[in-house]
């Protein structure tokens, strides 16, 4: 039986990601998902406020804490008319809390060490940023890792870009050639790191992020990709680009809802629940090949 908490209003009670149980790194088992908040500012960003993002993401995620909420029976994807069984989610998902605000060097060192320990435990780190600057620290902590990039600025040419594409402003289509390209690019012997920046979403959806880009993807495309990546042994996924203090953004909460909704596809796929759209894409892939 899944462990279920009291029917608390979702803004009340202990705040954790999707109402997950607090865990320490020592508690992690292979296949677990470990949420870690990085509440730090990006000193190069045009506006202050990224440090508030982990809390905003957790607050929004509680809305999706189906497994911990006895008032709901079970989630169904209304478009696919498919039930999603989340039994076991509570055992696999843990919230480690936030990295403590200390000196910059010590923050980088702590993040490096935490990432490495989660990797060695064969768990997957879900890093709630925060500043994109810390993503390089994560990448360095994972020996020889490959990185997939959603949104943000282009960093390394050998990374796999869902969006922005190296040659333009668009978004990789989810089917056919792009998946085949990803399969060719992916080396299963190396850790996989996913950078998920809010700016991956098309401007009409994410206009209030710090660095909106023209073009970008819709929610369905990003969810499909994250559902597919969730079936791989991802060592860390890092959310960046959210700034809840931007005028208007903190009020309407569109950014955090977009990110958490898409992240859910990753979480479900990573734990074997496999969101219906991921199944559909895989089925289409099978037909194509």
């Amino acid at each position: 039986m899944p462990l279920r908490s009291a029917p608390l209003p979702r803004m009340a009670g202990h705040l954790s990601f999707m109402r997950a149980q607090p865990k320490t790194i020592r508690d992690l088992r292979p296949g677990d998902l470990a949420v870690l908040g990085l509440p730090f500012e990006d000193t190069g960003a045009p506006f202050a406020g990224q440090s508030l993002a982990p809390r905003a993401l957790r607050e929004t995620s509680v809305y999706f804490g189906w497994h911990a909420n006895p008032q709901f029976s079970h989630p169904v994807d209304i478009d696919a008319r498919q039930e999603i069984c989340t039994d076991g989610l509570h055992a696999k998902l843990g919230d480690l809390g936030d990295l403590a605000p200390v000196s910059e060097d010590r923050i980088h060192a702590a993040l490096r060490e935490a990432t490495l320990q989660i990797f060695r435990a064969e768990a997957c780190a879900i890093l709630l940023g925060g500043s994109d600057q810390l993503s390089r620290t994560v990448q360095k902590a994972l020996p020889g890792c490959q990185a997939v990039q959603f949104g943000g600025t282009l960093q390394v040419a050998r990374d796999f870009h869902v969006a922005p594409l190296p040659h333009g402003t668009g978004c990789s289509p989810s089917a056919g050639a792009s998946l085949a390209e990803f399969a060719l690019w992916r080396d299963g012997s190396k850790p996989l790191f996913v950078r998920f920046d809010l700016s991956v979403f098309r401007t009409s959806l994410s206009a209030l992020c710090d660095r909106p880009r023209l073009g970008g993807c819709d929610l369905e495309t990003v969810s499909q990709w994250l559902g597919i990546l969730g079936q791989h042994r991802v060592s860390a996924i890092m959310l960046t680009g959210l700034n809840p203090s931007r005028p208007g953004m903190g009020v309407v909460k569109v950014g955090q809802r977009l990110m958490v909704t898409a992240l859910l596809a990753f979480v479900y796929a990573r734990l074997g629940f496999l969101a219906p759209y991921a199944k559909q894409v895989i089925a289409e892939e099978t037909e194509l090949t």
């Binding site: 029917p7 079970h74 989630p75 994807d77 959806l205």
Partner: protein, 332 residues
């Protein structure tokens, strides 16, 4: 001796806004076939983001401002070729129902009393939310009024919404809140779940609620259905299903079915991908429907500093009330 002063006495108008800049009046003054407006400035039954208590005044202001910018003479809709002139005496704003924040039942009965009085008199109640719970008291009064006006009559129900709102209870909020309004409506004596239709549902929903609806013959059209089938076709099917064996239609418009990228000023945002154009096409499909009553809910001005949400919602009312607001004229 000085000449007597001539005092200029303009016709006085009531300060503040009324819906569509219509006249203010009591529910007893609204005539048969007219729209009677009831404000429901209550968000005490919403579980997360508040602010819809300011919805009625925002809708009144937005419809009045939009009304002033529309052609006042005969005009043609460039999309549809529909040629019309403005109707007179079609709407009366009856003000707000008295809201008792600490007493859901008192609020419920106060709203229901107004919509019941309107329905009994042959008028069509239009209730302005407020959070979506208030749709239940609005429909409750309509249901009671229909029983008194036309005993034995049945009504169909269409809810355009991002969410089912069909839970029996919601945690600490109990049985009467913005997640249970459709469930409470389904328990009214002159509607069957088989005549209830939901349009625009998105994301993950509670599987038990969905099964309960579909087992009893209700229909649910998802946001994906709107994209795949087209808004007009979805509403054509929805209306046909809701009206089977029914005499009138009750319509509940929850603005949150529209994608939050367009419409952020609402309590429970969704990313349905439903555009303003698709939403308006849905409502165009109801412009000739046999409306017995309707509500529009979840407009939360404090959550949208740009104010575009209330104007998008006002346009929804322009669409669905076209039959009342205008009269067709022969094209030149």
């Amino acid at each position: 001796m000085t000449a007597p002063l001539t005092i200029f006495q303009p016709p006085f108008s009531q300060p503040g806004f009324r819906l569509f800049d219509g006249p203010a009046g009591d529910v007893a003054e609204v005539g048969t076939g007219q729209i009677g407006v009831v404000g429901m400035p209550s968000d005490w039954t919403h579980s997360s983001r508040l602010g819809t208590r300011f919805g009625p005044v925002a809708l009144r202001k937005a419809t009045t401002l939009l009304h002033a910018t529309r052609p006042q003479a005969a005009s043609v809709d460039p999309d549809t070729g529909y040629c019309s002139r403005l109707a007179a005496d079609w709407v009366v704003d009856c003000g707000d129902a008295p809201i008792t924040p600490q007493d859901v039942d008192a609020t419920t009965q106060a709203i229901a009393a107004m919509t019941e009085a309107l329905t009994v008199g042959g008028a069509i109640p239009l209730a302005l939310g407020g959070d979506h719970y208030n749709s239940f008291p609005a429909c409750l009064g309509y249901s009671r009024g229909l029983i008194r006006r036309a005993p034995g009559a049945r009504f169909g129900y269409i809810q355009i919404d991002g969410h089912l709102d069909f839970s029996d209870r919601l945690g600490a909020w109990g049985t009467h809140n913005h997640a249970t309004n459709a469930r409470r409506i389904s328990e009214l004596p002159n509607v069957d779940v088989a005549n209830m239709v939901w349009v625009g549902i998105t994301g993950w929903v509670d599987g038990g609620d969905l099964a309960l609806i579909e087992q009893q013959g209700g229909r649910v059209f998802s946001a994906g259905d709107v994209h795949k089938l087209g808004a007009s076709e979805v509403m054509r099917q929805a209306l046909a299903h809701a009206m089977q064996g029914c005499d009138e239609l009750y319509l509940s418009i929850d603005i949150d079915a529209m994608d939050a990228g367009y419409l952020p000023g609402t309590g429970s945002i969704v990313h349905s991908g439903i555009t303003p154009r698709q939403y308006y096409d849905l409502l165009d499909g109801l412009a000739e429907a046999p409306l017995g009553g309707l509500d529009i809910v979840e407009v939360s001005p404090p959550l949208d500093p740009s104010e575009r949400t209330e104007f998008l919602a006002a346009e929804m009312l322009f669409r669905v009330l076209r039959r009342f607001r205008t009269r067709p004229v022969a094209a030149a």
